[in-house]
Symmetry: C2
Subunit: 164 residues, 2 copies
Amino acid sequence: MTTKTKRFLALLLRVIALGATVAAIVIMVTSHDSATVLNLTFEAKYSNTPAFRYFVIAEAVAGGYSVLALLLSFNSLFSRLVLMMDVVIAMLLSSSISAALAIAHVGKKGNSHAGWLPICGQVPNFCDKVTGALIAGFIASILYLLLILYSLHSALAPLFALKP
Amino acid sequence: MTTKTKRFLALLLRVIALGATVAAIVIMVTSHDSATVLNLTFEAKYSNTPAFRYFVIAEAVAGGYSVLALLLSFNSLFSRLVLMMDVVIAMLLSSSISAALAIAHVGKKGNSHAGWLPICGQVPNFCDKVTGALIAGFIASILYLLLILYSLHSALAPLFALKP
């Protein structure tokens, strides 16, 4: 592959990852549902759960960084910095998805040992939206991992070619 | 710094990270506490919570990999593979800590919107041990991040020295 094709592939991965983070934020922020139990109406929204708030913030940071990285990656002077930052962002993404997924799992299945009841039966629309946001976030995280592995593979190739 | 010093520093980071994952597993697995409420005794242990089970498995995978990486890192033929695997393990570690932390936070503070009550008041020893395991896991994760940034810095240095 030529350097141009390689750079194009990396840019493409970055653009799709940006799209996935934006989708994750939009789906999570617009997720809400309400249920009426014994004449009491309660509302489920992402901002009630710290893990979901963290998810939105982390996806926003990753999205903002993706835009910056798209601009910086045109200048090869920054490529080492971009690769290092990619690793930090990939860890941030995997962290935010896992935290949100852990809470979503309790919402869906509950935890009988701790006495936490599932809530997805009452607010199914909320749970569906959260699931959608988690899938989008997961895609962004996998794309960042691919991007890093690909960058490492191509950036280190000349070094390894020198060694027998 | 000479290549020897660099390699020694990387090995040192890896050994401490291995120690931290082992500590995280031991503290998490030995954490249990019981409480008696209305003549009913209930037991809190890590295996009751999927996020804590995932934490132990992820730390065990990271610990096992650390041993393998220590052996492989003596042969420079594997250094690209080791660097790529380091990224995967760092993401796994950050993911496992975040999932466990999200659940531990509900255990400590509860979530009034979902009707989940905190349980740390009843089983304080369990909560203290989980906190300790999370701190050890967090240290392992930060060490892996440092190791990757350090490896990237030194592995890519010759490439960047070629470019003005």
